[in-house]
């Protein structure tokens, strides 16, 4: 086997390896979905961020418009601070509200944006004023039981 032949075959081998890696990265994983071009950063405060994780999608009307970059706690107000990157081509009004929603019944959580009617738009570094925290299942069940109990009590009073 001559030197040229060996080098060519090794080149083919390495190429196949990189193609495999590229295929895994693009088709099998979410690399393509992650490169979203120019973005601007926006923050939102929540009482409870629930199960939201970094790199969770930010959607409006069900369409992904950005990603959550980091989640931290505000030391003074003890609210959760969610920082997210939104694609530059989507501009949202200043009075947009953000809610933490769940995909499906028990799926991953994401941030849903509900655009408002303000003429001015959110700029980089702005904070979204109106937020709705994540639904915590235990609280929901507690409320349900409480309201059922109250109803039952009300019925008994009649």
């Amino acid at each position: 086997m001559t030197r040229r032949n060996i080098e060519t075959l090794v080149g083919v081998f390495v190429l196949m390896g990189f193609v495999a890696i590229g295929y895994l990265a693009l088709k099998a994983a979410n690399l393509a979905a992650m490169t979203i071009g120019e973005t601007y950063a926006v923050a939102a405060h929540f009482d409870n961020v629930g199960g939201l994780k970094p790199r969770a999608p930010v959607k409006s009307a069900g369409v992904t418009v950005g990603r959550v970059t980091s989640i931290s706690l505000d030391g003074k107000t003890f609210q959760g601070v969610v920082t997210m990157e939104l694609e530059k081509r989507f501009a949202f009004p200043k009075d947009t509200s953000a809610a933490i929603l769940t995909a499906g019944l028990l799926g991953d959580q994401y941030v849903g944006l509900n655009p408002g009617a303000d003429e001015a738009n959110l700029a980089a570094g702005d904070t979204i004023r109106m937020t709705q925290s994540a639904v915590v299942l235990e609280n929901l069940i507690g409320q349900l039981l409480y309201s059922r109990a109250a109803e039952g009590g009300g019925d008994a009073k009649k």
Binding site: I6, M16, L24, A29, N30
Partner: protein, 263 residues
């Protein structure tokens, strides 16, 4: 055998084990020290990638395909009980990329390329080729061993990626073409659930670590083999056994470190 002999034998074995571990670590450091020199003669590394990688492609691809088939079949059986059959793509991809790709590739590598390396080095030693090189003022570690180490480290992640890719394709063939799962769901669930850095990236890192481990074990066993036919035979057996155990142990450690921390 009285208990005293037994205990003494156990102690001897333990000391021997520690010695070999340390000796092997020194060996690895020696090889790494000689790596820059062999990078300068890159043709040697290329020839080794050919011997290690190209000749393993067939078995890796065939195994990957088979594993992909089986994963799809078994996975479908279990997932369909929970009505989650559309997640088959995700199951196949995650299993392969995170675990089966690196680990099975490493085990196959140990069997195919590792034994070949051990036998080759052992026979070179038995035929005094390494001594002859030393007498010619050429360091065999630089010329013979370090290129093989580099070849193994470079070839392994590429082989693991090929295994996973072919496996996913195999899963597609069985899941979509044979069983009839919706291809859109198959791919979209997969793409939504498999993360490039956390899953694919970590898998590649794992296979790099396995590449170092398997290649070093193979080279060490060959280099320290007794210069007789029986010696070489024992050395190749030890290569497979030690490589496999090392891979599984490292897999446990790496998985615990990389994957258990919640994102």
């Amino acid at each position: 055998m009285n208990p005293h002999d037994l205990l003494a034998g156990l102690g001897r074995w333990a000391l021997g084990f520690l010695f070999r571990l340390g000796h092997g670590a020194f060996f690895l450091v020696e090889l790494l020290r000689n790596t820059p020199a062999s990078l300068r003669r890159f043709y040697l590394v290329v020839a080794q990638i050919h011997a290690i990688g190209n000749y393993s492609v067939v078995i890796i691809a065939a195994s990957g395909l088979a594993v992909g088939f089986v994963l799809a079949l078994q996975g479908y059986y279990t997932l369909s009980r929970y009505g989650a059959a559309e997640s088959l793509g995700l199951l196949v991809a995650l299993s392969l990329v995170r675990e089966l790709g690196p680990v099975v590739t490493a085990l196959l590598f140990a069997g195919r390329a590792g034994t070949s390396l051990t036998a080759e080095i052992g026979l070179m030693k038995a035929g005094e080729q390494l001594a002859a090189m030393e007498m010619m003022a050429i360091d065999p570690k630089q010329r013979v061993l370090a290129p093989r180490l580099l070849g193994g480290i470079i070839a392994m992640p590429l082989l693991a990626a090929m295994f996973s890719a072919v496996g996913i394709f195999g899963g597609y063939v069985v899941g979509v073409l044979m069983i009839g799962i919706d291809p859109g769901q198959f791919w979209s669930q997969m793409q939504a659930g498999v993360d490039v850095w956390d899953d694919v990236g970590n898998g590649i890192f794992k296979s790099l670590v396995f590449g170092v481990a398997c290649t070093v074990v193979a080279l060490y066993q060959g280099y320290e083999a007794e210069a007789t036919p029986e010696g070489v035979a024992k050395a190749t057996t030890r290569t497979v056994v030690i490589s496999s155990l090392a891979v599984l142990l490292l897999d446990f450690v790496l998985t615990a470190v990389m994957f258990s921390a919640p994102r």
